[in-house]
Amino acid sequence: MAQTQRPLSPHLQIYKWQVQMVTSILHRATGIALAVGTLMVLWGLLSLAAGEDAFNQFKVCTGSPLGMILMIGWTWALFYHLCNGIRHLIQDAGAGYAIAQFVRSSWLSIVISLVLTLLVWAYVLTAGGAA
């Protein structure tokens, strides 16, 4: 692959940024982040099975500043991948390919995922502080 010198097709830096490029890249990035996040879910379950000390340690870690930042990040990653995933499923069914619709649904994925993240964390923080 790398040995042959062929002309390359224009890549990202050539294009003017458009929202549908961002949603596509973010879908992959959040997917990778969520794959790592499943390990966090696993840690929670294993610590719950292991005993009270292990579980409290898990809660201390997730409630720490770094833990909270990661949790907020994973919350958004989950909601974004969920919203944009639904968008992709709709597109897989053959709908929503007109340029205007395509751009609008891109923005929808971003906005709805941010709103859901805000709602969840507003609930988390008003329900009396995390962890």
């Binding site: 379950l45 609930y123 009396g128 995390a130």
Partner: protein
Amino acid sequence: MSTNAKDLPKDLQNPLKRARGLGSAQFGVGHWWTQRVTAAGLILLGLWFVVLVLGLLHADYATARATVAKPWNAVLLVAFIVTAFWHAVLGLQVVIEDYVHTRWKEIFLMVAIKFLAVLGVLAGALAVLRIALGA
């Protein structure tokens, strides 16, 4: 029969025989479809999981354990773990195929994520079972 050696075709293989194995492995549709089916499952399971976690925000150890031990929660948690890891492997596989162009690294990573996912599923399912069965 005095055919010169140079007149003979160098490769006596049938062109079809040569092409076989170089094209599609016929697994593409299965991968694509499974990714969509697990995605559909994760829409429901993911939302349910968020609600479950939010309900456990301030739960102490005993409450959290009792909640996970409820039959429906235990079943859905195992379903969530299996589906999430499965979907993750399918997705990461595409990422690896797209960006890792050294064959041995590609194969190493493909096998590694599958090993990790199977370990993750087994460990997660066992943890839920231990909680559900009170072991």
